[in-house]
């Protein structure tokens, strides 16, 4: 498995301090989102009456709900793949597009996923008035936003690192852009992309559950699915039903993993370029083995192979090469300046519109309040990551150094990371309510409930990959105790730990919107923080505040990444990489 974090490796490493260019792109993205949100908001009124699915709490209905959830997931991931291929290719082929697209991606991934849902709800509902299809699309879009950015970063990163000799040989054989893309670039990127898709999928379960029962102001959507089932169970304070839902979810994730991703990951091994082989365990899948051995299955898939070969060798007309004069003018500095100017003007205008709109209802005091709330959530994230690290790093090292144990625990940890922790929230909330505990403290652990596993399984992976000769050397020189941890184990797993911790912290920010506010029947618990702020505003349909909350969170996340994680990540890559 790749021990790198695509979004961090993709961006030039020395840029810790956000630049003016970053600020412009930031303004562009957020301004656009604000405009979309406000634009949609103004037309939501007649759409309030959306078809409501009635959710039955009978466990026998669960398989059907699980199927619906699963299909949404599948649709989301297909959209993500298509987006990834187009966006990544565009960013790689065009220098000017790259300058804009990659920072945009960085901003998009820092925005809380659930706010995308809020902003686009009106749009999707309007697209298919009176039909449940709009709500379905909205849910699929949420899944898409929770995985597409990360996958695109991975793909783009791979495109940037295509081996030079393979790239040369493709030119020399005059494969042309289209065939080069499908025979060289996509296969080369496949292992990383599929691995990343699987990881993003883990995060996506959280959001599919959250998006199935969602309210923005007076607009409520309820889609038949496991998420809606749990939401209904919460309203009815039915712990038994929640137990059934958890069991069903476990089964669904298991099936998804075994039938879709294991085979895909094992199959993608064949696209590994020699250099990267030996990193990580050989993946295997019983299903893939079965298909590769069974004649019937081979025959079934033969047309697929023929179709894809036909697709790859499509001749999309003649390769278009503009005359040299046009090419030269197009590549010139002056066109660069025009491009910069256009982006700058667009960003400033859009940002101005957004700010002007928000200024109608919000003042400086609101901004300060949101930043204060952001600081509270930041403290929570920091403390939780620290606590989780204190627990899982020693345990992970201990497990990772025992190959038999690691083999058993690793899939379980990955499995737990995939499990949508919001299904478990009601259990915790019921406990808090029963014990009259402080929500400010006891709701916090929910933020990291689902994401702490990333730390665990990355540390296990790091410890498993730790070279045995180094361990033996340390042993033979009698290095033990604290000195062993400080000089041998911790530096060895640090690059892996950072990868896990980055994912965990990103997930925690996202989860805060669902975790800082929780309810149990009519009981409503609320912690102070930016997540609760956004959740509150969403419930009231207060768009200026939702946008403000999202902007503040995005700034916090970007700064947090740039100032803490990226330096640590670079340090790990430069000084502690074991090769």
């Amino acid at each position: 498995m790749p021990a790198h974090h695509p979004s961090l490796t993709a961006i030039r490493p020395w840029r810790y301090i956000p630049s003016v260019w970053d600020a412009l792109i930031f303004a562009l993205v957020l301004g656009l989102i604000a405009l979309i949100a406000f634009g949609g908001h103004e037309t939501t009124q007649p759409l309030a009456a959306v078809e409501h699915a009635r959710i039955s709490l009978d466990p026998s209905a669960l398989p059907y709900y699980a199927l619906r959830t699963t299909l949404r997931m599948l649709a989301g991931i297909i959209c993500s793949f298509i987006f990834t291929l187009c966006y990544g290719a565009l960013a790689q082929k065009s220098r000017r597009a790259e300058m804009v697209l990659i920072p945009i991606l960085d901003i998009l991934q820092s925005l809380p996923v659930l706010t995308f849902l809020t902003f686009t709800l009106a749009f999707f509902l309007k697209l298919f008035p009176g039909s449940v299809l709009g709500a379905e699309l909205c849910s699929v879009f949420t899944i898409f936003t929770s995985q597409a950015w990360n996958m695109t970063f991975s793909f783009y990163q791979s495109l940037k690192t295509v081996p030079k000799d393979l790239s040369d040989v493709s030119d020399s054989l005059r494969l042309g852009g289209w065939r080069r893309f499908w025979t060289l670039e996509v296969p080369f990127a496949a292992p990383g992309l599929i691995w990343n898709a699987m990881m993003s999928m883990s995060g996506a379960w959280f959001f599919v559950v959250a998006s199935e029962a969602f309210s923005v102001g007076s607009t409520t959507i309820t889609l038949p699915g496991i998420g809606a089932y749990v939401a209904t169970a919460i309203d009815h304070k039915d712990l038994g039903a929640i137990g059934w839902a958890v069991a069903t979810m476990l089964a669904v994730i298991l099936v998804y993993d075994q039938l879709l991703f294991r085979p895909l990951v094992a199959w993608s091994q064949k696209f590994r370029v020699e250099l990267s082989s030996g990193s990580g365990p050989e993946a295997s899948s019983w299903l893939l083995d079965f298909f590769q051995r069974a004649r019937l299955a081979q025959r079934m898939f033969a047309p697929v192979g023929r179709l894809s070969r036909w697709f790859i060798t499509l001749r999309l007309g003649r390769e278009f090469t503009p005359p040299p004069a046009v090419r030269k003018a197009w590549d010139s500095r002056n066109v660069d300046y025009l491009w910069f100017a256009a982006i700058t003007v667009a960003s400033l205008w859009v940002a101005w519109q957004g700010v002007a709109y928000m200024h109608l209802t919000l003042g400086l005091g609101d901004v300060i309040y949101a930043v204060e709330m952001g600081a509270l959530t930041l403290i929570r994230v920091l403390v939780l990551i620290l606590l989780a690290s204190l627990i899982w790093v020693p345990l992970g090292v201990w497990i990772g150094l025992r190959p038999k144990l690691a083999e058993a625990v690793q899939p379980a940890a990955q499995f737990l990371a995939a499990f949508p922790s919001n299904l478990l929230f009601p259990v915790v909330v019921a406990l808090i309510v029963a014990n009259h505990a402080s929500p400010d403290i006891w709701l916090s652990p929910l933020m990291i409930l689902g994401t702490q596993w990333y730390i665990l399984f990355n540390v296990i992976a790091g410890a498993s990959a730790f070279p045995n000769d180094l361990l033996e050397a340390a042993g033979s020189f009698g290095v033990r105790g604290w000195s062993w941890w400080r000089k041998v184990a911790l530096p060895g797993i640090f690059p892996y730990y950072v990868t896990g911790a980055i994912t965990a912290s990103g997930g925690s920010w996202n989860a805060s919107i669902a975790a800082e506010v929780a309810s149990w029947g009519e009981q409503r618990l609320e912690a102070h923080g930016l997540g609760a702020y956004i959740a509150d505003a969403t419930l009231k349909g207060d768009f200026p505040r939702i946008v403000l909350g999202a902007v503040v969170m995005s700034i916090f996340v970007v700064l947090f990444n740039r100032l803490l994680w990226r330096p640590l990540f670079d340090f790990a890559a430069r000084r502690l990489a074991l090769n």
Partner: protein, 452 residues
């Protein structure tokens, strides 16, 4: 003698040297690093390739020979000059030219057969014919039975055979080979070379001509009709040697040895003005010396190792470069930087294909670790002005610290950023060994601190 006129009686089986296929005039190439610091990698290259020739481009790394090959392959565009292939200017990979890569460059996700076939698709060859021609090429190059294997499952030699098959299957007129044997072990490389030469001699290769980049002098003499020797800084053609030994050639023959010796001599001739710039001499009075001299990254272990090898019998302090290269199984691009570094430091003299240890060189071999370091330090200070300068700056400053940028900027007045970095890191390595100064990678700073 290579036949330049068709009137000369041809050797029966071999394709004869015919009309000019490839014409290169006044080609120059630069790599821009920053605005003012364009690095000249090729300058004033004039060269013709005729039908029926195997020509070798020989030179050390950095002499631009691979760059020239990439220009011919249409993978890079020259900054100046004209390159024409069959009378047409080259703009992108030309038809009728195929390339074999040092690293094989096989698609790991395609089988041997698919890897070979891939070059035929863009030519619009129908599937049945693709299959048939690929199988033929696989057969010719000795890969029968491996058609369905993936490159991962093959040994290095077999992989390069796939590379050859892929190059040959398109029936190119010219096959370009970029150090095709240098990633292989000695035995495998030799088998592949002889197989290729045999096929060429028997006229079984669907080729008119081969252009080979190499830094292995013996390989060039073994395979080529003509060897073009490159000089570096900037890359130029220094000499051309015609090789009229009959095939198959025998390495042990005196005439063969004589040619190898001769080429070594030409590559280290101190009188040749074209080779002048790349030969490093100590002291500021020499051209290429002074603060702005470039240094290759050469480990002090290798320097000491070479001196020790030179002191041992049968060399006793003096050796023919081909002999010592043989003894240590080193190729030109490994041996020359070492020999030249010794020359620069005043531990050896290199001229006319010979290397001879100086008095201090002999003394170095006899000394123990600490005395070696002291001797090395003295020579470094006396003969490498940049080393002396770093030490002086550190001595003068009250903190005894100086940032990396202080010296890299100094070097960038003379050379590209890339070369400045390489030179400075070479110096850091030597300076650390000589205990002349310390360097902290994290803070990118030089100091006099002794960690002890």
């Amino acid at each position: 003698m290579v036949m330049t006129s068709p009137a000369t009686a041809p050797t029966p089986q071999r394709p004869e040297a015919g009309p000019v296929m490839l014409d290169i005039r006044n080609v120059r190439q630069t790599y821009s690093k920053g605005q003012a610091n364009d690095l000249l990698v090729l300058d004033g290259i004039n060269f013709q390739l005729r039908e029926g020739e195997i020509v070798g481009l020989l030179g050390r790394s950095g002499s631009g020979k691979s760059t020239l090959l990439r220009i011919i392959a249409g993978l890079a565009r020259p900054r100046g000059g004209d390159v024409t292939w069959q009378g047409q200017p080259i703009d992108g990979p030309p038809k009728g030219v195929a390339m074999v890569f040092q690293s094989f460059a096989l698609f790991p996700w395609l089988t041997v057969l698919e890897n070979v076939e891939i070059g035929l698709e863009p030519l619009g060859v129908p599937p049945a014919e693709r299959r048939q021609r690929s199988l033929q090429a696989i057969d010719l190059i000795g890969l029968d039975g491996f058609e369905n294997a993936y490159p991962k499952e093959l040994s290095g030699g077999m992989r390069q055979r796939v590379g050859f098959a892929r190059g040959l299957v398109v029936h190119p007129q010219l096959l370009l080979m970029d150090e095709p044997f240098s990633a292989l072990d000695v035995l495998t490389a030799e088998t592949l070379r002889t197989d290729l030469v045999d096929l060429w001699m028997e006229g079984k290769l669907p080729l008119r001509s081969i252009l080979l980049v190499t830094h292995n002098i013996e390989e060039a003499v073994l395979m080529c009709d003509r060897v073009v020797i490159f000089a570096s800084n900037p890359g130029r053609i220094a000499a051309e040697v015609k090789i009229d030994l009959p095939y198959p050639r025998n390495r042990t023959e005196p005439a063969f040895r004589q040619l190898v010796d001769d080429i070594y001599g030409r590559m280290t001739n101190p009188m040749d003005p074209k080779l002048r710039a790349e030969q490093m001499h100590g002291g500021a009075d020499h051209p290429g010396g002074g603060i702005g001299m470039t240094l290759p990254q050469v480990s002090t272990n290798l320097l000491a190792g070479l001196m020790e090898a030179l002191m041992q019998p049968p060399f006793d302090g003096k050796a023919d470069l081909p002999d010592i290269a043989d003894e240590l199984t080193m190729e030109v691009d490994e041996l020359f930087p070492l020999a030249e570094s010794l020359q620069l430091l005043g531990f050896a003299d290199v001229a006319h294909g010979d290397i001879r240890l100086t008095e201090d060189g002999r003394r170095f071999v006899d000394y123990d670790v600490d005395s070696r370091k002291k001797l090395f330090r003295d020579h470094l200070m006396a003969r490498v002005p940049m080393a002396a300068m770093i030490r002086r700056v550190l001595d003068e400053r009250s903190t005894h610290r100086a940032p990396y940028r202080r010296f890299s900027e100094e070097l960038e007045d003379f050379m590209s950023e890339e070369f400045a970095e390489e030179t400075l890191y070479a110096l850091i390595d030597w300076g650390r060994y000589a205990e002349l100064f310390a360097f902290d990678e994290q803070s990118q700073s030089f100091s006099l601190e002794d960690p002890a």
